[in-house]
Subunit: 760 residues, 2 copies
């Protein structure tokens, strides 16, 4: 059924089995939703706050959708017509041998465009629906915390699990569906699916990140620093925007981010698996990742269902319970993988690769903990350095950020080394497949991971609602406890998100090699000149140029996102200051206009979206046209290296400053209100946009660039054959010069618009 | 006379001509010294301050020499014996065909060891002698400023020129001497010369950087921030240490840094030139870079001599005069290069490559100015963002640092593209040669550049002496004006230092290719398996691992150096605070113990030196042993990419914060004492160790790693042939695991010693 490759009855059944497991995961999410919705929404005051949050979140999502829709539509058309530039692959012709080549071309084009829309749509659902559920959950957690700790914990975690199971279920459903329809011809179509998902994730990450930090930083700068009123104080005009931000950034953004890592690892796993199918004639190399993922979904369902807290539970119980669920899932998976390796694969190497992935998730988790948790030396050092003021605190955080980048590089290097050792003596394609399987393994328990992550903003929001609705102290204490647990689980997932993004990017980089080689083979380019034979040689000056430009891109990206937050936060500061001057507001007699602040954030978050997305989409195409396909490979390597460096640096430094502040708030060096605390607030404010906007935006950005390169490579090779590249190259150069002039005049490239107020 | 290659009489004469030009440059430096020393040293109070600075600087240099001497001796031995692992090259046998192979081996070994010592010694002279002269100049500038602006300017600039001419003269002398003795066998020996220079530069940069910023940050944190007394106030115990720091960091460190870029570009130029000699049989490819350098020295002598200021001159006059000197040198050089290209080379490509280098220096200069000067948008934005406090100011600075990194990458990429275009259609070696010539061109006017740079700390110190000796207002104004000019000239050189480091590293990367290929040819490895044929393929997983680990190293390095400054500054803060409690000190009746602060900085600066040097020396050897020589190439690429990213980021962010503070001090947003000013002081304090310690330390570090790789490569290839690599690899892995355990227990790797006070 999958084309020219033979599949046994067992294999056919099991692929349908995976399909139904994906549906089961979605069904489980639906079941949890019904359960959650039954709980009560508390007092009218609580519902009022909740209503404001929901409205703000909906407004943001609606607006975002509207601004990206034209681009999505245009790209759908581009993807559809792209098949008319190059002929359909041999695999496609073999899979649909009953049709004429023209029909096949149409079919692949339709499939690719549909897959792109599906990827984007699924990503949207994960983000939007997950976030809507989080908003629904918030108020119910707040209400339940008036009754018992256990109930509040259960609602918070299960609401998070809905997003988790959506991520799992939709990712698997998409990959499996495409595989069932297109069989060995799937890679072409799968790329569209991956691209749709990552692109949406980029939007959600960048938009959500700018929104949440503009609101957060803006609210804090006026509220906490200038007016000395507590966080979530209802008199602060930006407080609702801040709560909305938690949902759109931490919840929707993170879920979409992990969804696309989940999706992209399937895509690259299947592409590299197909390369092995070509070498060995065995279909098991493609089925393996799908089966592993199927097992992962099943064990996530069981593990997450086990999480519950006792009636009078404490933090530790909550944490232990969540961990228990995680390890239950991990245990079930490992046993099932063993069976799979022994009885189906009849070999152990793929199993080991998946195992390395699970191990990698744990190691990255430990490193993240070491560098960002309060009980370890780095955060203690940062906290202590606040004694000589904020400058030294910042310096320490920068040093720790750089150090963690170094270690993360080494961990990824060891992971690839493991793939080499596991596939010792085999051709490179096996090693690349091993790396892809590591990515598959790393994200096996995505259901649990996303549940843990979403738990964070849900508990945070419940706490905010509690503060604003002035609930009784006992309930507030429970919510504060849950919030603390949420901060920890959230931080853990962040490390996994970066790590998996890098591994996914490396797998895509591997797929780039095999894919380009396939196209070159189809074009009868001699074997020794194909990319898998020549390799991507940074010793070629032109490839080194690619490497340099690739390294430049994440720097530019980070600069733009940090600046966007800075600019938007400045607008919020002005607005909140203005509203504080309204007579009666400080006394609590007049309610501030929350909607205004939400609007400012929403508009600000949209402003840079299209520009940043275009940079990510167009830069690999330009590089490929001007410098050819090998240099494009160097470009990808540069993007990965510099992207990882900056992503880890920003996430770690930001997280460490955040926790250094918490350590001081817990009583170190004089606690709240001391000079040390003031210094640590500066560190936290610097770290916020780094760890929640600029850093996370790099994850999808790295993958968008890799996917665009994969999609564009065949066309680029054809263009260069026809010597059209030089012409396009010159056009590109002119564009570049034009851009440079614009930049020097108006600073357009950095979005410094003439006359616009710069700074805060 | 140069071995088997024929040289015309003109060529033989001209090489001796270059040799004498080098001596002429040194003679000019000596002449200037005699002139300077004739000027008077002013009042007894001035001489007292000057004596304290001189003592402190001498103490630091003596101590530093003592701590690095064992390593230098050990490495000299290693370099000597290295020739006994691999046979002497064919070129060496041909050059010394009158001797038996055994004798030739001894000769090359001795030559290499001697060249290493010479490189180290020259670097030491440039740093130490230059610094001593700066100290002598300081007090004389202060004294002259009591008479006239013009005289003060002339003394300051000429003192700087002494260092400049030493850099030029010694760099050229070393390269030419080796070439005259070893002819076409020079590359082996030249590597020793380059290694000696870069290693010493690493020590001077790291040691000097830690010293100067520990003193600066420590003095400011207590003096300016806590006690609210002005900079250079004699009651501050760290004030002499601060002035000493300017000399050891900005003067000795920077001079040694540029000296080694100067040296390393000659080394890689000659190595790649020799590869072309091998291809074409024409000796002109090696003579060209030496002749270009000779012309550069001559025109620097003329240009620097033209600099002088009018009696009642102003800032602009000073700046215009320095610029006039620079452009005179540039003009003379270009005309001479034209003659060289037309009458000697009979081709224009090499000329264009050198021209690109000069252009590159100008472009980098402009970019540096754009991002760090007060009149351009970036610094203005940073300054304005201080209105919402230090956090937003820091964020803006980070964003601007990242942005400048992106642009610098693109500039370097365009430079390499230029080399490709210039040598279009030629083999890769030509393009690499072109890049090396760009490096040669970029550093043509090193004499002027270093003079401009050294001018900065000399004017700064004179100003400090003026403050401490309480000179009359008119003299103080002149010195303040000179100081402002010095800040500008210093900043310009910083950009050139980074840019030239990257270009030098890329040239070395190119030399790595040709050198390894030569060794492989000598070992009869088939041509298609040699490195120049296979290339360095990042698509090979093992090479990608090298790339990742290479990228990790600059991160680790930056983290360690920032932490060292933080720790040392903490000790200074304690000491200055302690001394402020001595009765009578604040009233000026008791003199503080300046020596104590100098001692603390001196000891702190030595602590990390050996550890950091060992990381830079051992890491490429370990990588080469475990992962083989192609992965080592990937490693080098990783080091260059991540090193450049961080170096530019830190230099720019630091410089921009510094100038944002100056803008505010000049009256923006309330000027000195305002909230905005306090915020900008935080930014400046964060930026100081980044721009003056961590960032600059990366320049020599990148080159040390490249040179060690070049030196070790032949041995590594032999080891791998003999399968010894695996054994060594295992030893290395054990070391690594051991290191990891140590790290987790005591944090040894980050130099966190148990029980030691962390933080400030």
């Amino acid at each position: 059924m999958f084309g020219s490759i033979h599949a046994t009855m067992f294999e056919t059944i099991s692929i349908w089995g995976v399909f139904f497991i994906a549906l089961l995961g979605l069904g489980y999410a639906f079941l949890l939703k019904t359960q959650i919705m039954k709980h009560d929404k508390g007092t009218p005051r609580m519902q009022e706050v909740w209503g404001a949050i929901r409205q703000g979140a909906d407004a943001y999502l609606g607006r975002q959708l509207k601004s990206i829709l034209p681009l999505i539509l245009a790209l759908t058309a581009v993807l559809f017509f792209s098949v008319y530039v190059i002929p359909p692959s041999e695999e496609a012709l073999s899979r649909f041998s009953q049709f004429a080549p023209d029909k096949v071309r149409l079919l692949v084009g339709l499939g690719r465009a549909a897959a792109f829309v599906m990827g984007a749509f699924f990503s949207l659902i994960v983000g939007q629906f997950g976030m809507r559920m989080a908003v629904e959950g918030n108020v119910r957690v707040a209400s339940a915390s008036r009754r018992s700790f256990g109930e509040a914990l259960k609602i918070a975690y299960r609401t998070g699990t809905i997003t988790g199971m959506l991520t799992d279920g939709l990712g698997l459903l998409g990959g499996t569906t495409i595989f069932i329809i297109f069989g060995i011809a799937s890679p072409d179509v799968l790329l569209g699916f991956g691209f749709g998902g990552t692109l949406l994730a980029l939007f959600m990450r960048v938009g959500g990140g700018i929104f949440t930090k503009a609101a957060d930083v803006g609210a804090d700068l006026v509220g906490k620093v200038e007016k000395n009123i507590p966080e979530d104080d209802p008199r602060n005009a930006a407080v609702i925007a801040d709560l909305v931000g938690d949902n759109v950034g931490d919840c929707a953004g993170m879920a979409a981010d992990i969804f696309e890592s989940y999706e992209v690892t399937i895509v690259s796993g299947l592409i590299l698996g197909l390369a092995l199918v070509g070498l060995t004639g065995e279909i098991k190399w493609i089925l393996f990742p799908l089966l592993v993922r199927g097992i992962g979904v099943l064990s996530s369902i069981i593990g997450t269902y086990l999480v519950r807290g006792g009636k009078e539970g404490k933090n530790n119980d909550a944490f232990a319970s969540i961990n228990r669920g995680f390890f239950a899932s991990a245990g079930i998976s490992m046993v099932a993988f063993l069976f799979l390796a022994h009885f189906y694969m009849h070999e152990w190497r793929a199993f080991f690769s998946v195992g390395v992935g699970i191990l990698l998730a744990i190691v990255i988790d430990e490193i993240t903990k070491y560098f960002t948790h309060t009980q370890h030396p780095p955060v203690k050092e940062i906290a202590h350095s606040s004694r000589t003021g904020s400058a030294t605190l910042i310096l320490r955080g920068l040093a720790i950020g750089f150090e963690s980048s170094a270690w993360q590089f080494i961990v990824i290097a060891i992971t690839i080394l493991a793939a080499i050792v596991i596939y010792w003596g085999q051709p490179v394609v096996y090693v690349l497949y091993g790396v892809a399987m590591t990515g598959i393994g790393m994200l096996t328990l995505t259901g649990n991971n996303v549940a843990m992550d979403s738990f964070g903003p849900i508990a945070d929001n419940a706490n905010g609602i509690g503060e604003m609705a002035q609930l009784e102290p006992k309930a507030r204490q429970i919510m504060a406890d849950l919030d603390a647990v949420g901060n920890t689980t959230k931080a853990i997932t962040k490390g996994v998100a970066i790590g998996s993004a890098v591994i996914a990017a490396v797998s895509l980089f591997g797929s780039f090699l095999t894919d380009v080689t396939k196209v070159q083979a189809q074009m009868n380019i001699p074997e020794n000149l194909r990319l898998l034979a020549t390799g991507i040689r940074v010793s070629q000056p032109i490839v080194f140029i690619g490497l340099l430009i690739g390294a430049a891109l994440p720097c530019l990206f980070s600069s733009l996102t940090i600046n966007s937050v800075a600019r938007a936060a400045g607008l919020i500061v002005d607005e909140v200051r203005r509203q504080f001057h309204i007579p009666g507001l400080m006394e609590g007699r007049v309610k501030p206009d929350y909607k205004k602040a939400v609007d400012i954030c929403t508009v600000a978050a949209q402003k840079e979206l299209i520009g940043l997305a275009l940079i990510a989409i167009l830069s690999p195409i330009l590089i490929g046209m001007v410098l050819e396909v090998e240099a494009l490979g160097g470009f990808l390597a540069g993007v990965i290296i510099s992207g990882q460096l900056l992503a880890v640096f920003m996430a770690t430094a930001g997280g460490a400053w955040d926790n250094a502040k918490k350590t001081i708030e817990d009583g170190l060096l004089g606690g709240k209100g001391s000079d040390a605390h003031r210094a640590s607030v500066v560190g936290d404010t610097v770290g916020d946009p780094l760890k929640d906007t600029a850093g996370p935006a790099l994850n999808p950005m790295i993958k968008v660039i890799n996917l665009v390169s994969l999609l564009a490579a065949p066309i680029l090779i054809h263009l260069h054959r026809a010597n059209v590249g030089v012409i396009f190259g010159m056009v590109a150069c002119i564009l570049l010069i034009f851009g440079a002039i614009l930049y020097s005049k108006h600073g357009a490239l950095t979005f410094r618009r003439p006359g616009e107020r710069v700074g805060f």
